[in-house]
C-alpha cells in the first residue's frame, strides 16, 4: 500500500512493517545537523524553510513591542547587571536588598551567564531580554519537534506536517503567555521535550549511560530558579513516559526504572549547586510562600476548562484599583473570539486523536491525564476534590511542599501532550486532503485560529514586566555608587512590590539592577530573615501611617549600615494604600539625622496622577527622588560596647519609640530579650545594659497587600495570626486580653481580604461611637455574629445596638439569642437606617427578662449600596462590661524575678524604662482605629520609681460644649458666650476643630466666620446640630454651606427643623445661604437634623444664623471657665487626669496649647508638678479615662538618665562579601559586641584571631552578632557556614558536569568501547586507539 507523503518525508523508509524499537535503533546514532533532524530522514528543504520562517516570525513578534524598552520576565538585574548578578548568585547568602537571607535563587547563575555573554558582545539589555525569550521559544518548538520525530520515526505519522505542527503548537499557545511567561517557567518548558526525548532513547539502551547523561544535562539546564520548583513539577511527565514505553513499546520495567534512576541521579548531582542552598533556604522560602498568594487565590481560576486552554494561572483573573494585574492578557477573559480561539488546543487535540491512528497518541493522552489533575489542584477552593484536599494537606504539613502550591507550573506537560495530539492529527489529516491547495487552505485556517488564540502576544502580552527606567534613576544610582560602597542605600518608603508611576510593577525592586552598592528596602513579603523583616516592617508601617517620630528614620539607617536614604516619590502608593509622597518626604525632611544632598528629576515627574486636590498638589511639587545623607552613618559591620546596650522586651518595631524617647544616644547595641538565653541575659546585665519594656512584638496578623493600616487587631495568645511578623512565644509577645465581666468572640466569615484592625469585636463595647466592629465586606455580612459570654448567668432585659456612621451598607436585621440560663430566648429586629438612632431590643416575656450567660447577636440581613463592611458602633447589654487590654510580654520579668542575689543586685542598679505607644493607625482612615484608647497590663521585675512623660490628645467623644469650655480657658479661642450652647450628634472623625460651635462663630461681631464650620460624621444623614440660646422670639434663621454638591464638595439638601422639641418641619437646603422661615414663636432651642445630601466629600455647615443670637464671638483674653491651675497664655491649665495606673489617677501637666488640642493634635505632657510614680514589682494596669487619649506613655526608671552611654567604635574592614566578613576590632578594654551587619541566622559563625566565638546572638534587631568578652582588639572572621557546603556541592556538580558531558558525547557508552577499554594489554595508547577506531566504525 502506498500513501501520499510530504516532500520532507520522502526519505522515510515506509516499506516493510515497522516494529517497536526500530526508530530507537536508528536514533541511537548521534544526531547531526539540526537538533531535531534524525539521520536518514532529515527535514526537507521546504520544512527547513518553513521552520526558519517560523523562527523569524517568533523573533519578530518578540522584538516588535516597544523597541528599546526593557521588557522582561524575571529579575531585572539578570538583564541590566548580569555579571554582578552572576557574582552574587554563587553564594548561599544574599545580602541585598533585604538585609540578607539564604539564597534560594542560585539556579539563576546559568541564566545570567548566558545574558552576561550577550552583554559582553555589546548587546543592549532590552535586546538581550528579547533574544533570550525568542531563543527559548525556538528551543521549545525544536524540542517538541524532535520528540515528535523520535516517537513517530518510521511510522506514517512521521511527516513534516506533524513535526512542524507539533513544534508550533508547543511554542505558540496561551500557556506561554501566562503561566509560562517567566524565565523560571519558560526555561524548563523549553527543555522538557529534549529531556524526555533523551530519556526515551535511553530506554532502548538500558545498560548505557549516554542517554541518561544527556537527559540529566537537559534536566540540569532547566536550572534551579525559584528552588527548582518548575523542573520538579514537570517530572509529572515521567509516569506518562514510562507507562507509554511499557504499554506501547513493551519495555521492561526494570530497564525503564534503571534508565530513569540514572538520569535523575545524574541530574541531582549536576543540580547540587542549587539544591544545597535551596535546602538551606527552606525556612525562608516557606515564610515567603506563607505570606504571598494564598491557596484559595491560586486555585480560584484553575478549573479543568481553564487549564486545558493553557490558562488558569491566578493573576489573569486579578485586578486592583489600578486595573487588571495583567492588562495585556485580559482579552483571554474579555474577548469572545479570543476566548473561543484559546480553546483550539484541546479541541484540536481531541480531533487529532480522532483522525489519527498512531499509537503515539497514547503518550499524548497520558501526559494530559497526569498533568491536568495536578494543574487543577485544589480548584474550586471552597470545595476541592478529594485529590485536591490531599494536595492541600500536603502543602500544609509537608515541609517545603508549599513551594509547589502553584501547580499551574506543570503546564509544559499539558502543552506537550496537546502538541503531540495536534501534530498527529495534522499529519493524518494532511494525507486526506486532496491536493496542495486544500492543504494550504487548511493550514492557513489553522494558523489563523492559532494566531487568534495567542493574539495578546502581538500586543506585547509576551512580557508582563516593563522597565522603562527614567534617566533620573540611573543618575541617582551612578551618584550613589560613586559615593562609595562601604554603606548601604536605604530605600523609603517600603512597598508590597516595586511599583513606580513610570510603568514598573515588578516583585523585585531596582536596587540590585541599578546599584553596585547594597540596598535595603522593606517589602510586605518577608524576603529576609525574620528579624530583618520585623525591624523594617515596624519602622515602615509607622512611616506609612504618618506616625514616625523624628529621628527614627535616620536611626534605622544607622542601624542597618545605610549611608544614604533614597526617598522615592515616584512610587504608586494608591493600590496598596501607602503613604502619599508628601507624607514620606516630610518625615525625611524633619529628621534631624538626615541631610538633603540632592534631588533627581524635576518637580512633579511621576509624583502625582493629578493636581485636583491640595494633597495632590503637594505631591506634585516634589521631585521623584531625594537623596539624604545619614549623619553618623557607619558600615553595616561594626563593634558596639556591651555597656549601655539595650535589652529590649519586644522587637525591632520599638526602634521609633526608642528614638523618640532619646534612648538611642550613641547607638547602643539592641538585644532582644526573646533572643537571649538566661546566661546571656545575666551577662548582659553584668555588662551594664539597660532594660526597656515595650508593647511591641504584638501578636497580630499582617496584611501582605497593604502598607498603611497593614495589620489586624491585636490577638489573644493562642489564636492563629499567620502571616505575622511577631517573634518568639506568646509570653514574649504583646497579646490581647479582655478586661471585665464578659468575653466577646465572633462567628462567621469575618472580613474578606483581611486582616483589618476593625475586625475586633471589642470595638463595639468600648463606649466610643466613633469606633466600630466591622465585618462582612463584599456583601458577606449576613451570617456573622457577635457572641458575648458573661461570667455567670444574668438578666438580659434588653440589648442596645448602634450602627456605625459612614456611607455604604449597614446591618438591617438581627437575631438576638440569649441562652445558657434556662429557656433559650430569641428575637429578631429591624435596625433603623440612621446611626444616630440606637435600637433597643427588649428581651423576655411579659415581666420576666431573658436570662442566660451567652448573648448572640447575629446579622440576618444588610441593606445599602456598596461592598464595604457592616457592623456595630456600640452594643449595650445591661451589666456587661468588657474592654480590650494589651498585655505586655511577661517572660522577661519572670526571668529577672528568678535571678540569684548577685543578679538581683545587678538588676537593682540597672535602669528600667517602659515605653508604651498606642496604635494610631493611618490618620483620617476610619478603618484604622484599632486602638482608640491606651490600655495596658505590664509586669515589672522589681519596685521602681518612674518619671512620667508622653503625649496626649483630646478624646473624640468629648462633647462639643465641653470643648467650648476648654477653649474658653485659652485667650484667642473663639467660643460662644455661656448663654449660647452649641452641640451636635457627631463630628467628622471626632475632630474637635469641627465641633458645633464652629457654625455659630464670628470673625467679628455680627460677621460669621465662614472659614470654620460644623462637619458631621459620615454618612451625615441623621446627624444633628443644636443651638441653645436665651429665650426670645424668632421668625426665621439661616443655614450657610460652602458645598456645591459636586466632587469634594458635598451639600446637605434636606433637613428637619425642631424648635424647642416641638413638631418637626422638613425644609430644603440649597448651596450658599438658605433662609428658613418660621411661624413667629418664642423659643430657646433650634435643632437641625440633616435628612439628605448630595456630592462627595464632607458636608459643612459654616453658619447657623439666628437673628439676635449668632454669630457670636468672645474677645481674646476672656476669663477662663474651667481648670484650677494656671498656665501660659495659651497653655492648658492645671493638672489633668489623663489615665489611671492600677486605678489611681495619673495626673499630668499637659504642656501643649489649647489650640493644638482643639485641632486634634497630640501634645506632650509630664508628670504633674514633676511628680514620679512608684510602682511595685508585679503586674500593673494602665487604663484610659473618658476625655483624654494617651498616645505615648514613657516611664523612665530611676537612674535612667545617668545610665552608662553606649559607644560604637569604628572597625577596620578587611574584606566583605555576601558570605564572609573579616574585620579588625579596636581594643576597648570592656566587653563589646561584634555586629555582622547582615541578617541573623544561626548558621553564621565568627572567630576572633582564630578562636571560635560560638553561636551568634541577635543584635540591633536584625543582625548576627557575638560578644567579645576580653574587650581586646582582634581580627574577626565572620562566615556563613552553608557556603562551605555550597562550594563543595558546586565542585561536585562541576565534576558531575564534566563526566556527564564526556558520557553524553559517547566516550563511555558503547559496550564494545567498554570491552576494548578493558583490553588485556591495558596500555593507554591501545585503549585510545580502540576508542578512536570504535567511533570511526560507528560513523560518528
Amino acid at each position: 500500500m502506498s500513501h501520499p507523503v510530504d516532500a520532507g518525508a520522502a526519505a522515510v523508509p515506509t516499506t516493510g512493517p515497522w516494529r517497536p524499537g526500530d526508530a530507537d535503533r536508528r536514533q541511537d546514532v548521534p544526531a547531526a545537523g539540526s537538533p531535531g533532524s534524525v539521520p536518514g530522514r532529515p527535514g526537507g528543504s521546504a520544512e527547513r524553510r518553513l521552520l526558519v520562517a517560523l523562527a523569524v516570525a517568533a523573533l519578530a513578534v518578540v522584538l516588535s513591542p516597544a523597541p528599546g524598552v526593557l521588557l522582561f520576565d524575571t529579575k531585572p538585574e539578570v538583564f541590566l547587571a548580569p555579571w554582578r548578578t552572576l557574582a552574587h548568585s554563587f553564594s548561599a547568602w544574599q545580602d541585598s536588598p533585604y538585609l540578607g537571607g539564604p539564597n534560594f535563587n542560585v539556579g539563576l547563575a546559568p541564566v545570567t551567564l548566558v545574558t552576561g555573554l550577550l552583554d559582553v558582545v555589546g548587546i543592549r539589555p532590552w535586546l538581550i531580554a528579547r533574544l533570550w525569550r525568542a531563543g527559548l521559544v525556538v528551543l521549545a518548538g525544536a524540542g517538541a519537534r524532535r520528540l515528535y520525530a523520535d516517537l513517530t520515526a518510521g511510522t506514517p505519522a512521521d511527516t513534516p506536517t506533524g513535526r512542524v505542527v507539533t513544534a508550533v503548537a508547543y511554542a505558540a499557545n496561551p500557556y506561554l503567555l501566562l503561566g509560562g511567561a517567566t524565565t523560571p517557567t519558560m526555561l524548563p518548558y523549553a527543555l522538557l521535550p529534549w529531556f524526555l526525548a533523551s530519556l526515551r532513547r535511553g530506554f532502548a539502551e538500558p545498560r548505557g549511560w549516554v542517554h541518561p547523561a544527556r537527559a540529566a544535562l537537559w534536566m540540569a539546564a532547566m536550572t534551579g530558579m525559584n528552588a527548582g520548583v518548575v523542573p520538579l513539577l514537570q517530572l509529572v511527565a515521567l509516569p506518562a513516559l514510562l507507562l507509554d514505553a511499557r504499554i506501547r513499546e513493551r519495555r521492561r520495567w526494570p530497564h525503564l526504572l534503571r534508565v530513569t534512576a540514572r538520569a535523575l541521579a545524574l541530574a541531582g548531582l549536576l543540580s547540587l549547586y542549587w539544591l544545597v542552598p535551596a535546602i538551606t533556604a527552606l525556612g525562608l522560602g516557606s515564610a515567603i510562600a506563607g505570606t504571598t498568594e494564598s491557596l484559595s487565590a491560586i486555585n480560584a481560576g484553575n478549573s479543568a476548562a481553564e487549564v486545558l486552554r493553557g490558562l488558569g494561572f491566578w493573576p489573569l483573573y486579578g485586578a486592583d484599583p489600578g486595573g487588571p494585574f495583567l492588562p495585556d492578557l485580559v482579552a483571554f477573559v474579555t474577548s469572545p473570539p479570543i476566548i473561543v480561539a484559546s480553546f483550539a488546543g484541546p479541541v484540536a487535540a481531541a480531533a487529532g486523536a480522532a483522525v489519527s491512528r498512531s499509537r503515539v497518541r497514547l503518550l499524548g493522552v497520558l501526559l494530559l491525564a497526569f498533568a491536568v489533575p495536578i494543574m487543577v489542584g485544589m480548584h474550586p477552593p471552597d470545595a476541592p476534590t478529594p485529590f485536591g484536599r490531599l494536595l492541600g494537606l500536603a502543602f500544609e504539613r509537608v515541609p517545603g511542599a508549599v513551594a509547589f502550591r502553584t501547580t499551574n507550573k506543570a503546564g509544559a506537560v499539558l502543552e506537550l501532550g496537546l502538541g503531540l495530539l495536534v501534530g498527529l492529527g495534522a499529519a493524518a489529516f494532511a494525507t486526506r486532503l486532496p491536493g496542495r491547495r486544500a492543504r494550504v487552505s487548511a493550514g492557513s485556517a489553522a494558523a489563523l485560529v492559532a494566531a487568534l488564540g495567542v493574539a495578546p502576544a502581538f500586543g506585547g502580552g509576551l512580557f508582563s514586566l516593563r522597565a522603562p527606567v527614567p534617566g533620573y534613576w540611573r543618575e541617582a544610582a551612578g551618584d550613589l555608587d560613586d559615593a562609595g560602597s562601604a554603606t548601604r542605600v536605604l530605600f523609603v518608603p517600603g512597598d508590597v512590590q516595586a511599583q513606580y508611576r513610570w510603568g514598573y510593577r515588578v516583585p523585585d525592586d531596582l536596587g540590585n539592577a541599578l546599584f553596585s552598592r547594597p540596598t535595603v528596602v522593606r517589602t510586605t513579603v518577608p524576603n529576609g530573615t525574620a528579624g530583618s523583616a520585623d525591624l523594617l516592617a515596624g519602622v515602615d508601617l509607622r512611616l506609612q501611617d504618618g506616625d514616625l517620630p523624628r529621628g527614627a528614620l535616620s536611626a534605622l539607617a544607622r542601624y542597618v549600615g545605610a549611608g544614604d536614604v533614597l526617598v522615592r516619590n515616584d512610587v504608586r502608593w494608591e493600590p496598596a494604600g501607602g503613604a502619599r509622597p508628601a507624607t514620606v518626604a516630610a518625615a525625611a525632611a524633619v529628621d534631624p539625622g538626615l541631610r538633603l544632598v540632592r534631588t533627581y528629576g524635576g518637580p512633579g515627574m511621576y509624583t502625582a496622577e493629578s493636581t485636583a486636590t491640595a494633597a495632590d498638589r503637594a505631591d506634585a511639587a516634589l521631585p521623584p527622588l531625594q537623596r539624604y545623607a545619614v549623619a553618623g552613618a557607619r558600615p553595616p559591620a561594626g563593634q558596639a560596647s556591651a555597656s549601655g546596650a539595650v535589652i529590649l522586651d519586644g522587637d525591632g518595631a520599638a526602634l521609633p519609640d526608642l528614638a523618640a524617647a532619646g534612648l538611642l544616644g550613641g547607638d547602643p547595641a539592641l538585644l532582644e530579650a526573646g533572643a537571649l538565653t538566661p546566661a546571656a541575659l545575666r551577662q548582659a546585665l553584668a555588662d551594664g545594659a539597660r532594660i526597656v519594656l515595650t508593647d511591641t512584638n504584638g501578636r497580630r496578623e499582617w496584611a501582605t497587600g497593604r502598607l498603611a493600616n497593614g495589620t489586624g487587631a491585636l490577638a489573644p495568645a493562642g489564636t492563629d495570626v499567620t502571616p505575622s511578623r511577631v517573634l518568639y512565644g506568646p509570653d514574649r509577645q504583646t497579646v490581647a486580653v479582655q478586661d471585665g465581666n464578659a468575653s466577646v468572640t465572633t462567628t462567621g466569615r469575618g472580613m474578606i481580604f483581611g486582616p483589618w484592625s476593625t475586625g475586633d469585636p471589642l470595638l463595639a463595647f468600648d463606649g466610643d461611637v466613633t469606633t466600630a466592629w466591622e465585618v462582612g465586606n463584599l456583601g458577606t455580612g449576613a451570617g456573622n455574629a457577635l457572641v458575648v459570654h458573661t461570667r455567670g448567668v444574668l438578666d438580659v432585659p434588653q440589648v442596645t445596638l448602634r450602627l456605625p456612621a459612614g456611607p455604604g451598607p449597614r446591618v438591617s436585621r438581627v437575631r438576638i439569642t440569649v441562652s445558657g440560663g434556662g429557656p433559650r430566648f430569641t428575637r429578631e429586629a429591624d435596625l433603623p437606617a440612621s446611626p444616630a438612632e440606637p435600637l433597643t431590643v427588649h428581651l423576655g416575656t411579659g415581666q420576666a427578662p431573658a436570662r442566660g450567660d451567652t448573648v448572640t447577636i447575629e446579622i440576618l440581613a444588610t441593606a445599602g449600596i456598596g461592598y464595604g463592611p457592616v457592623g456595630f458602633a456600640e452594643v449595650g447589654i445591661p451589666g456587661v462590661r468588657v474592654a480590650k487590654v494589651a498585655r505586655l510580654p511577661v517572660a522577661l520579668a519572670a526571668e529577672l524575678a528568678g535571678l540569684d542575689a548577685v543578679g538581683r543586685a545587678t538588676l537593682a542598679a540597672t535602669p528600667v524604662d517602659v515605653l508604651l505607644h498606642r496604635s494610631l493607625g493611618a490618620p483620617g482612615d476610619p478603618t484604622d482605629d484599632e486602638e482608640p484608647r491606651l490600655a495596658r497590663d505590664l509586669t515589672l521585675p522589681d519596685r521602681r520609681g518612674f518619671t512620667i512623660s508622653g503625649s496626649v490628645r483630646l478624646a473624640a467623644s468629648v462633647p462639643d460644649d465641653q470643648l467650648d469650655e476648654l477653649a474658653a480657658s485659652a485667650p484667642g479661642e473663639t467660643v460662644p458666650p455661656p448663654a449660647v450652647v452649641a452641640t451636635s450628634s457627631s463630628r467628622l472623625l471626632g475632630n474637635p476643630d469641627l465641633r458645633a460651635s464652629r457654625a455659630v462663630d464670628a470673625v467679628r461681631p455680627g460677621v460669621p466666620n465662614l472659614a470654620t464650620g460644623w462637619r458631621p460624621a459620615e454618612p451625615v444623614v441623621g446627624e444633628w446640630l443644636q443651638v441653645r440660646f436665651p429665650r426670645r422670639q424668632i421668625d426665621h434663621f439661616t443655614v450657610t454651606q460652602t458645598g456645591t454638591g459636586g466632587a469634594e464638595s458635598a451639600l446637605a439638601t434636606r433637613a428637619r427643623v425642631t424648635i424647642d422639641g416641638g413638631a418637626p418641619v422638613d425644609v430644603t437646603l440649597a448651596a450658599g445661604t438658605t433662609r428658613v422661615v418660621l411661624h413667629p414663636t418664642i423659643a430657646s432651642v433650634i435643632r437641625l437634623t440633616l435628612l439628605d445630601r448630595v456630592g462627595s466629600g464632607t458636608v459643612q455647615i459654616t453658619d447657623l444664623g439666628i437673628p439676635g443670637v449668632t454669630p457670636v464671638v468672645v474677645p481674646s483674653g476672656s476669663p477662663a471657665r474651667t481648670g484650677s491651675g494656671s498656665a501660659g497664655p495659651a497653655g492648658v491649665p492645671g493638672c489633668r487626669t489623663i489615665a489611671s495606673i492600677d486605678g489611681r489617677p495619673l495626673a499630668a501637666a499637659v504642656q501643649g496649647t489649647v489650640a493644638d488640642l482643639l485641632t486634634g493634635r497630640a501634645v506632650p505632657f509630664t508628670g504633674c508638678r514633676g511628680a514620679s510614680a512608684v510602682l511595685e514589682a508585679g503586674s500593673h494596669a494602665v487604663r484610659p479615662v473618658a476625655d483624654w487619649v494617651v498616645d505615648d506613655l514613657d516611664l523612665a526608671g530611676a537612674g535612667s538618665a545617668a545610665a552608662p552611654r553606649a559607644v560604637r567604635v569604628g572597625v577596620q574592614l578587611l574584606s566583605r562579601d555576601d558570605t564572609a566578613v573579616t574585620l579588625r576590632t579596636a581594643a576597648t578594654g570592656t566587653p563589646y559586641y561584634v555586629v555582622a551587619g547582615t541578617g541573623y541566622d544561626p548558621s553564621w559563625r565568627a572567630s576572633a584571631d582564630g578562636v571560635d566565638l560560638g553561636a551568634p546572638v541577635l543584635v540591633d534587631g536584625y543582625s548576627a552578632g557575638w560578644r567579645v568578652a576580653d574587650g581586646g582588639g582582634h581580627v574577626v572572621r565572620i562566615t556563613y557556614r552553608p557556603q562551605r557546603a555550597f562550594v563543595a556541592a558546586a565542585w561536585a556538580g562541576g565534576a558531575a558536569l564534566l563526566v556527564c558531558l564526556l558520557t553524553a558525547a559517547g566516550l563511555r557508552s558503547r559496550p564494545r568501547l567498554a570491552r576494548r577499554a578493558r583490553a588485556p594489554d591495558g596500555r593507554w595508547l591501545t585503549r585510545l586507539r580502540a576508542i578512536v577506531r570504535n567511533r570511526g566504525e560507528d560513523g560518528s
Binding site: H3, S303, L308, A319, A349, R361, T385
Partner: protein, 162 residues
C-alpha cells in the same frame, strides 16, 4: 484495566488468577467502579457520576473507542460555548467570578478529557503493532472520517474494562 499490559509483565500471573477468580462481567464492573472512584477523586462528583454512566454504557453495550474520542472532541468544542454563554453577563469583567460563578465548563472539560484518555487507550490497545502503518485513506461513502475503517477492532473485541 485499560493500561494493563497485554503481554507478559510481572503482573501477568496476578491478572490471570484474577480473571479465573472473577467472572468477566464482574471484573469489568469492578474495573469501571474503580475508574469511577478515580475520576471522582480527581474531577469531582459531577464527573464521577458521568463516569458511572459511561461505565454502565460499556457494561451494557460497549461503544467503539473512536466513539469516545469523537464524543470527547464534541464536548471540548462545547466548552468555549459554555464559557461565553455562562459569562455573558460578566463579559468585560476581570475576576475569578468568571470561573467560580460559571462552573459548567470545568466538569465538561474534565469529562471530555476522561473520554479522550479512555478512548485513545482503548483504541491504541486495539491496534496491532503493524497496524500503525499507513494512515487509513478516506473511507467509502457513508463512513465518517475517523471511523475505524476496514480494519476491525479484533483481536480485542470484548469490551475493555477500564
Amino acid at each position: 484495566m485499560l493500561l494493563a499490559p497485554v503481554h507478559g509483565g510481572t503482573g501477568g500471573s496476578v491478572m490471570v488468577r484474577l480473571r479465573r477468580w472473577l467472572p468477566a462481567r464482574g471484573r469489568q464492573g469492578a474495573g469501571w467502579a474503580a475508574s469511577a472512584v478515580l475520576v471522582w477523586a480527581v474531577a469531582g462528583p459531577l464527573v464521577g457520576a458521568f463516569w458511572c454512566a459511561v461505565g454502565a454504557w460499556h457494561l451494557l453495550r460497549p461503544p467503539p473507542p473512536r466513539i469516545l474520542i469523537g464524543a470527547s472532541a464534541w464536548l471540548f468544542g462545547l466548552v468555549p460555548v459554555l464559557w461565553v454563554a455562562g459569562n455573558a453577563s460578566r463579559l468585560g469583567e476581570v475576576s475569578t467570578r468568571l470561573v467560580l460563578d460559571n462552573q459548567a465548563p470545568g466538569p465538561v472539560a474534565a469529562a471530555a478529557l476522561a473520554l479522550l484518555v479512555t478512548g485513545v487507550c482503548r483504541d491504541v490497545r486495539s491496534l496491532p503493532d503493524d497496524l500503525a502503518g499507513p494512515p487509513v485513506p478516506p473511507g467509502p461513502a457513508g463512513r465518517r472520517p475517523g471511523d475505524p475503517g476496514p480494519t476491525p477492532d479484533p483481536p480485542l473485541t470484548r469490551p475493555d474494562p477500564p
